[in-house]
């Protein structure tokens, strides 16, 4: 029994290690390559990325990119280029912040209130309404894209950050997640509060919100990650390049500046990573309790 258990353990760890390596490898490549010089990156990746090279050098060229983890010479040139020389990155970073933070704050407020209503208030048509919410959530984003676009057009929001922020705030995902979470809160707490003379707002603010902290945090992080990484919405709603967020930066990097991609990606990851590390516990707890994952 004990021996079997140990073998199982070793197997588990092995599989997990292999998976960890597979998942971490691209990240490691991105981070270490961001310290390489433009030339080194071109040498490593040109066989697959440079169309000209691969066509005229058919016989002699090495057609495989080399994943090189350790730079020949560590240089900060790419960071210098991204952060100082080419101001586009910084500007798009602030665009991302301007889009993501209102969505996170807005959705947190809206979803918490809506989830409370769905979980704890009894009113006619509640289940049907929630059912509609679920339907919307289950539908792929691309399905609602056209109506969203038309509506944004009607409201005159196209090419403005609000065309992304509004749909983001009223996304159904947070409602669903928090409803699941709030249903875990025993009704007796609410009843006890009501006996003590608390009104709905007091119950919500003093009991539900504090008890849903983990869930709210998890939701906020998931929403942050989701919106920080969104590509389709800004691509479609924001024609003006000066308004596009960082997620579109990589697509704008031209051939001669491949080195920028690694430094930009590394910097791009940082907010999400820091966020995750900060609230890892809430995230795991929230996901565990609500029974879903993002």
């Amino acid at each position: 029994m004990n021996r079997n258990h140990r073998i199982k353990n070793i197997l588990h760890i092995t599989v997990l290690l292999v998976l960890a390596v597979i998942f971490i490898f691209p990240l490691a490549v991105t981070v270490t390559n961001s310290f390489m010089s433009e030339q080194e990156i071109a040498d490593n990746y040109d066989p697959v990325t440079d169309k000209n090279l691969s066509s005229y050098n058919d016989n002699t060229a090495n057609h495989f990119a080399r994943f090189q983890l350790i730079p020949d010479v560590v240089v900060l040139k790419q960071y210098y280029n991204v952060l100082i020389k080419k101001t586009q990155f910084l500007f798009m970073f602030w665009n991302s912040v301007l889009i993501t933070f209102p969505i996170v704050i807005g959705q947190t407020i809206v979803a918490t209130l809506a989830a409370y209503a769905f979980a704890k208030l009894k009113f006619r048509g509640r289940n049907f309404l929630f059912f509609l919410y679920i339907i919307v959530m289950l539908m792929p984003f691309q399905v609602t894209l056209v109506p969203n676009y038309l509506m944004a057009g009607q409201l005159g929001l196209l090419n403005s950050h609000w065309s992304i922020i509004f749909p983001g705030i009223f996304s159904t995902f947070g409602v669903f997640l928090l409803k699941q979470y709030m249903e875990q809160i025993p009704d007796s707490y609410i009843e006890a509060a009501r006996v003590d003379g608390a009104n709905q707002l007091q119950i919500f603010l003093k009991i539900i919100v504090p008890m849903s902290r983990s869930g709210i945090a998890a939701m906020a992080i998931l929403v942050f990650i989701d919106n920080w990484n969104m590509v389709e919405q800004p691509l479609i709603f924001l024609q003006d390049a000066a308004k596009q967020p960082l997620s579109l930066y990589l697509s704008r990097i031209i051939d001669g500046e491949k080195g920028l991609a690694f430094a930009a990606s590394t910097l791009y990851m940082l907010p999400v990573l820091l966020n995750f590390l900060y609230a890892e516990k809430y995230l795991l707890e929230g996901i565990r309790l609500s029974g879903i994952k993002g």
Binding site: L83, I84, K85, K86, T87, Q88, L90, F91, M92, F93, W94, A242, G256, L270, P271, L274, N275, L277, Y278, K281
Partner: protein, 388 residues
């Protein structure tokens, strides 16, 4: 144990929170200062807008002053030089003796030849008399023969004698003419007692025989520069500049050998340069200046406007590489943090240029970079700096 875990978690959160704050502050700082940092790091360029107008071709050149006309005097015979009256470089006036050749030998020779001429004259008279006698003989015989008193053979003999005598007479006549010419030549040679004089006012530029030496016909006795005809400065210039000058143009001339004396000259002719045929041409410039003797070093300066061109840029704005010429055009883009200037490489053809500007065949829109504090490339971001 649980307290410890909570404390660890709090500690971790604190660190990560600080890192997040640091990241945010860094981004804010970089956003705020990136322009400032760029201002230190970016190449600073000075730009200029292409103009239209004409180029100014400046022609500089250096050459030597020559006398326009020189006379050469040759001796008629190989004679000993008795005396040289002048030195090279001396000014002489018309009729002034320059060189005296020893003609004593020539004189006796002349007298001998004169006597021979006389002899030949006598011979000719004699031959003529003889011829007259033979004619009379023949006439008499003819008469007799006609009257059948003489034989045909005798008449034929007389006729032959007459013909012989005629030939003899002609021969002597020819010899006399030859001798007459000889005497004539000698007469000329001795005429001035061997004294050769200056034919015009001028300057002796060459003396080829010293006293005591024997002259020959291959070298002139002396060369005499005809100062009245004036001087010319011969200046070689590049072929591509020739189009900008024409005979009759006035140029400023500076004679270095006369202590930078300035004057004006007129282009007389443009001829091929014998040494750099095809690459250079010689300008023959008429100059007149007190003190010129020929051989002086002189320089010229001439500025000429070309035809007007549509696009003129400073020479420093035109870069060259293996594929040709190009300029950098400044392209201003509205960046997120203000206006950003980028360089755009534009290939151009230089049609013509002078010392300052180049004329391009292509229209160039916008400002071109004429000076940069660092080497720049296509697509570089730069800072525009006001021209000094």
């Amino acid at each position: 144990m649980q307290n410890q875990a909570i404390a660890d978690d709090a500690q971790r959160k604190k660190v990560i929170g600080r890192l997040s704050l640091l990241f945010l502050l860094a981004m804010i700082g970089l956003t705020f200062f990136s322009n400032t940092i760029n201002n230190f790091a970016l190449p600073r360029v000075q730009t200029v807008r292409p103009t239209n107008g004409a180029l100014i071709k400046e022609i500089f050149g250096e050459g030597t002053v020559e006398v326009k006309s020189t006379r050469e005097e040759y001796a008629d015979a190989n004679l000993r030089v008795k005396e040289v009256m002048v030195e090279q470089g001396d000014r002489v006036s018309k009729g002034q003796p320059i060189i005296i050749l020893d003609v004593n030998e020539l004189k006796s020779n002349y007298q001998d030849e004169q006597a021979r001429y006389r002899q030949l004259q006598l011979s000719l008279a004699e031959a003529r008399e003889e011829q007259a006698q033979k004619q009379r003989d023949y006439d008499n015989l003819k008469y007799l023969f006609d009257n059948k008193a003489e034989t045909a053979v005798n008449l034929q003999n007389a006729e032959k004698n007459l013909a012989d005598e005629k030939r003899n007479c002609e021969d002597v006549q020819l010899n006399l003419e030859i001798q007459a010419r000889k005497v004539d030549t000698l007469a000329k040679q001795v005429a001035n007692n061997g004294v050769y004089t200056a034919s015009v006012d001028g300057m002796i530029t060459e003396l080829n025989f010293a006293e005591g030496s024997i002259t020959n016909n291959s070298l002139p006795l002396f060369k005499l520069a005809d100062l009245r005809q004036g001087f010319r400065l011969i200046v070689p210039i590049d072929n591509d500049l020739v189009d900008y000058v024409k005979p009759g143009d006035t140029v400023s001339v500076n004679i270095l050998s006369l202590g930078d004396k300035k004057t004006e000259g007129k282009i007389d002719k443009i001829v091929e340069n014998s040494q750099h045929n095809g690459d250079e041409k010689d300008l023959w410039i008429d100059v007149s200046l007190e003190g010129l003797t020929g051989g002086e070093k002189g320089e010229i300066y001439l500025s000429k406007k070309t035809k007007p061109y549509a696009t003129l840029v400073p020479n420093s704005a035109v870069y060259n590489d293996s594929s040709g010429s190009y300029v950098f055009v400044l392209e201003s883009r509205k960046g997120p943090l203000g206006t950003e200037n980028y360089l755009q490489k534009v290939e151009v053809n230089v049609e013509d240029s002078d010392n300052v500007k180049s004329a391009l065949t292509d229209m160039v829109m916008g400002e071109v970079v004429m000076q940069s504090n660092k080497p720049v490339e296509d697509g570089d971001r730069v800072l525009e700096e006001a021209a000094n």
